[in-house]
């Protein structure tokens, strides 16, 4: 069997804020025997428009993603949220346009969040890494409830030699990011993220990991303001063995 051709859906936050997450994802995919390509015309999956009720712009961006990515064997994103937009929302956006619904469905069927792609699709259970540390894992909402990403990252983290996973209470409760929610309702968002950073700190873990950069920037930003001493990283950084890159918001 030839290597599967995987298109990386970089996601706008990773592109802009934390390219190392993109490179860690590429490494994991290549180590797993995939050929990785990065479609050059990609920008954003359209979720901000869709969740703001702006259907027309959302459809325009979804059409762009479909066009750009449908020729590959798989589409993989280091984000449950962006992957869920492709998997769950595109067919809804094009309701009534049968041709586009068919294309959206086909793309949805081969689009995956990175940890579930590695485990559920490729059957990988061991990332062959060693790191002596303690971590806690925050289940980002879209990945967890739209795509069922829960056991997959934990299974892979469990394969990292020396890593201890300490679950926090309410690990499946929203951190308060919610895209534009965090700036539209900053006070409510603050209440939610304050609960989250307290729950993380209570585990005593060295760092919090998650599968979505938006949630991570929210939690890291709050922890920094509060002077907490845990770090925040995307889960793929640990799975790919990248701890040299400073953690989110950490001094170089």
């Amino acid at each position: 069997m030839s290597a599967p051709r995987v298109a990386l859906l970089v996601t706008c936050l990773v592109d802009m804020f934390r390219p190392s997450v993109g490179f860690a994802t590429v490494k994991l995919l290549e180590d797993a025997g995939c050929t990785v390509e990065v479609p050059q015309r990609q920008t954003c999956c359209g979720q901000p428009a869709w969740n703001s009720g702006d259907r027309e712009h959302a459809k325009a961006l979804a059409a762009q993603v479909i066009e750009e990515f449908e020729g590959f064997d798989y589409v993989v994103a280091p984000s449950g949220s962006c992957a869920a937009t492709v998997v769950k929302d595109y067919t809804e956006m094009f309701k009534g346009d049968e041709a586009m619904v068919t294309r959206a469905k086909a793309l949805a069927a081969k689009t995956h969040e990175i940890t579930s792609f590695l485990t559920d699709v490729l059957g990988i259970n061991d990332v062959k890494q060693a790191l002596t540390t303690s971590v806690t894992y925050h289940d980002s909402c879209s990945g967890l409830r739209s795509l069922g990403v829960s056991e997959q990252p934990r299974k892979l983290l469990g394969s990292v030699e020396g890593l201890e996973l300490r679950e926090m209470v309410e690990n499946d409760v929203c951190c308060g990011f919610g895209g534009t929610f965090c700036v539209k309702f900053p006070d409510v968002s603050n209440s939610m993220v304050s609960d989250k950073t307290r729950n993380i700190a209570d585990t005593g873990a060295d760092m919090v990991l998650a599968g979505d950069l938006g949630c991570l920037m929210n939690m890291a930003g709050k922890a920094s303001r509060e002077g907490r001493n845990f770090k925040a990283r995307h889960v793929v950084e640990i799975l790919a063995g990248d701890t040299k890159t400073p953690a989110i918001g950490e001094d170089k």
Binding site: F23, C44, G53, Q64, C141, P186, N190, M217, G249
Partner: protein, 472 residues
Amino acid sequence: MSGHVPTSSAFKSNSQEALVNRNLQAALRGSRGNFIAKRAAARANVPEFDDIRDQARDMKNHVLANLDLYLEAYEKKVTEAGGHVHWAETAEDARRIVLDICRKSNAKTVNKGKTMISEECGINDHLAENGIKPVETDLGEYIIQLRGEIPSHIIAPAVHVTVPEIEEAFRKHHAHLPPDRDLSELASLQAEARSELRAKYFEAEVGITGANMLIAETGQSVIVTNEGNGDLSQSLPKVHIVMASLEKIVPTLEDSATLLRLLARSATGQEMSVYTTFSSGPKRSEDPDGPEEYHVVLLDNGRSNMIGTEFEEMLRCIRCGACMNHCPVYQSVGGHAYGWVYPGPMGAVLTPSLIGVEEGGQLPNASTFCGRCEAVCPMRIPLPKMMRSWREREFEKNLTPSATRYGLGVWAWAAQRPWAYRLAARIANRSLGITGKSKFSKLPLAGGWTKFRDFPAPQGGTFMDQWKAGKR
């Protein structure tokens, strides 16, 4: 205008006040987690729970597709049993109908079992304005009636009140209380409320209850309570008025059992509520007791307009409250911030349907779409999807704030032009990176973020540029 004057359009300032209200925050923290743990345990004991959810969803969808038929069948059964069905198109109609019945009964006091439809219609204020005294008999409702408040939760109306605040309300209103009477514990508060309310049951000429279900096959109304107050409210006075919205109908007795298997488990984590009462109409000649008159006020108030729209599925709701118990936004700010009768995720969908998106539009925006509400909804109502639909309606009606619209427009213009998007990303990336800082405590145009959190700086260079330059 129906009942309470809404303040839903002020959700943002309501929520800011709620977040600094220490009593409210203490009450919310105290109850948080209880409902969740109990529901999870009850659900875990029923392996076929998800199958029951599917059955219930399908049954209710069938009802909504044939609502007229079931309502007519129900009316026929009620009439045959000697009861009366009153069709109330609006809240105002419902107020008029209830007042008429009370006046005909020469009522001075009306006992109330818990009913959200009465809250929706503002029945208490209307009766009081017309010289009739409404007495809430559900403990939570009684407490908030003393405090002059509306419920903050659809099944736990006083969940926002702390024990010392209840004591304060009792001491203020129960004039006979000796100062040394201990009211510091829930049990002593319950005993005090019980002794006060027992006497009232025999004074009332009319009893008003809600209905968790109306059964078309039998013409019965069903209520579930944990205090037995509903039974006393409806069987002791000579007139019983049931207030129900029209989507409460189920086809058969068997169907009501399906919903009962879901309701208490989802709501309080009980297998069944303590009391489940089926009312079949007025007292028959062979009955030892019961009301002489039995009236059902069937409220529409905008619900039939939801049928055939993207909000129809909301009419499956059985008012268990699981969505708000699991909602991190509700749990942060409590129910009053939502500004009208129905709070939490179900309120965020229902409120704009009933009072208009112009007034209620902030509520469906006040969600992170975390999806926990849908995950626990026993009726599988896609709440986040419907909140998104409201945002779409707002966008179409130009109700979305102009700054948001403008921002979306500029962003979407660039995102459809990869060259422009790359350029903008590069500029933003460099200007944030130029300071060499790892994070920002203040940033122009990002005050909503930096008011409470630092903003992590970008690593430097976009992924797309670095990939193109050959970095691996």
